[in-house]
Assembly symmetry: C2
Homo-oligomer: 336 residues x 2
């Protein structure tokens, strides 16, 4: 089963974990100076590494738009990566979709490993292993003083960005979310809505990630991120306990969201996310029996525009999508 349909540790609050390493090869200009011919040559070179992990290479120019967008929605590819210059770009990805290497994104290689729940330590081990295998074959741009060199200076050093997706509905409802955001920032971490920088949170899901990759080791960064995440989990759970005391209000909110989700005849992606946030709080607190966290994961995935179209295997405009989304939601809810 794909990792994003599974449940992991602390998954009542932490939806997923991701670590990515930015790497560049010597003997090739960085992406801003790279010609199309060099980019294609580089793709071939990476393909020939053959490092295992069941990775298969797909050129972006061979992938259809819906498939590409469905990977963006899964936070496996970046929006910028799929939008331009498809000829020069490729990915190495496994069937489970928990490992994906973007070739010729901002850096030559963006190695990513993802997993359900809070899983920073395991994922760090996996990405180290991938990185070592590649390093046996390729020569990375590395500076003895600064560390790994990258296109954007903010990634120089470890080239690592580690992040966790957290679901914070109770902190939002009790109005304590802003205090939490401040604290996280104070600890050298970024926290932001799930659809990229500066974007509003949808469905109360936030991404926490390390700010700095310079002058701090991978292990230390992961340790800090673990600590801050555990703190947030604790705060969110406290807020949930507080809400559970006024449980009829919470139950009412959870069940109304379920009632709308299970009965609407058309539904936007944004509304769906917000309803699922309430319902997920209900499944996590054992308030609602009609759904499980895993089903909520499935609903969340297949209600996204491109994944919905992938699931139905047809192209739909906005209006049709809203209708089909409502239909698919009902199907998934009824499934055993």
């Amino acid at each position: 089963m794909n990792w994003y349909l599974q449940s992991g540790k602390e998954s009542d609050v932490v939806l997923s974990t991701r670590i990515r390493f930015a790497r560049n090869l010597i003997n090739y200009p960085f992406s801003t100076k790279l010609t199309k011919e060099e980019a294609i040559e580089l793709i071939d070179k990476i393909e020939q590494c053959n490092i295992g992990f069941d990775l298969k290479l797909f050129k972006l120019s061979d992938m259809d738009g819906i498939t590409k967008m469905s990977l963006v929605e899964k936070h496996i590819l970046s929006p910028e990566f799929v939008l331009n210059d498809n000829e020069s770009r490729a990915i190495l990805i496994n069937d489970e979709e928990n490992i994906c290497i973007m070739i010729n994104e901002e850096d030559h290689l963006r190695i990513q490993v993802l997993g359900a729940g809070l899983d920073l330590d395991n994922i760090l081990n996996v990405i180290y292993e991938i990185d070592r295998k590649l390093e046996e074959i390729l020569e990375y741009a590395f500076d003895a003083k600064y560390g790994f060199l990258t296109t954007c200076p903010t990634n120089v050093g470890t080239g690592m960005r580690a992040s966790v997706m957290v679901h914070l509905p109770a902190l939002s409802m009790t109005g304590n979310i802003n205090k939490v955001l401040e604290v996280v920032n104070g600890f050298g971490m970024n926290i932001r809505g799930i659809y990229g920088e500066g974007s509003q949170s949808q469905g109360n899901v936030y991404q926490i990630s390390n700010k700095s990759s310079l002058g701090i080791s991978e292990e230390e960064t992961i340790k800090n991120l673990n600590v801050i995440t555990e703190k947030i989990i604790e705060q969110e759970r406290l807020a949930r306990k507080y809400l559970a005391k006024n449980s009829i209000e919470l139950e009412d909110k959870v069940y109304r969201s379920f009632g709308i989700l299970a009965n609407a005849k058309k539904m936007s992606s944004v509304e769906c996310n917000n309803l699922l946030s309430n319902i997920r709080l209900g499944t996590d607190l054992g308030i609602i029996e009609e759904l499980t966290d895993l089903k909520v994961n499935k609903l969340e995935l297949y209600s996204k525009p491109a994944n919905l179209q992938k699931y139905l295997d047809k192209t739909l405009d906005d209006y049709e999508r809203d209708i089909q989304r409502a239909y698919i939601i009902k199907q998934i809810i009824k499934e055993d």
Copy 2:
């Protein structure tokens, strides 16, 4: 079965019909001048008439508050009637609750007959029959020129107020309701929200009734009311057809209302009425299969504050009522 849990003619638009006759006896002062002793004597006199129709007498002072309010909610008693001076007041009512005579309301007698759907002609026959039987025994205050004399001059003449309750959700949704209200007023009829004069419509239910009882016969009034009601039925059905063309929007609205109603853990009476209005439109148009008009009638009745408490046979405060209402709604929806 009680009349208000049944379905009648044109009941896709007309919920119920009511006719009342205001009557006063000679030899007794009108209500404003009536002493308590005279009022009690008058009650005895009426009880002794024994006109049949399975009518039983209940003194208001012997009835508990919830029972009285439940009859107000059914539009069988007026709010003013139950609030003050219970010692001087009584009702004659049958088990089916389609016939009720209020004794010592604004007039000595307020004879009322109610029924489901559009049923003006039948109800006029029934109330004539009751009125004739009473007139054989009692002497009514009657003036050869003006007709029946009443406490308030607006009722002098026939003493009749005939009314129909209409459910106009489509005219509201299409924004044509104000035009209809104007037309109805132009035809010498009043139209107003269901909770009395000047009140806002709840759940898109309006009461249409004759303005005048002077210089116009009962039959003529009923004929006019029938004509205007048929016109409104026609307009509402046209508006529903129009909405049905954009049926996904309508279905969505109907099913979302159903989803909330069937899943909420607490619900106010006002919200319930508004949701039931949408759902009733759905049952009438055959859009929703989960409920029938009869069940909507039942939901509408038992969700009202006093009837809810009658049904549960206990006294509840506002907060408890909202919770119990949500619970009872779910029970009724699940019933066979």
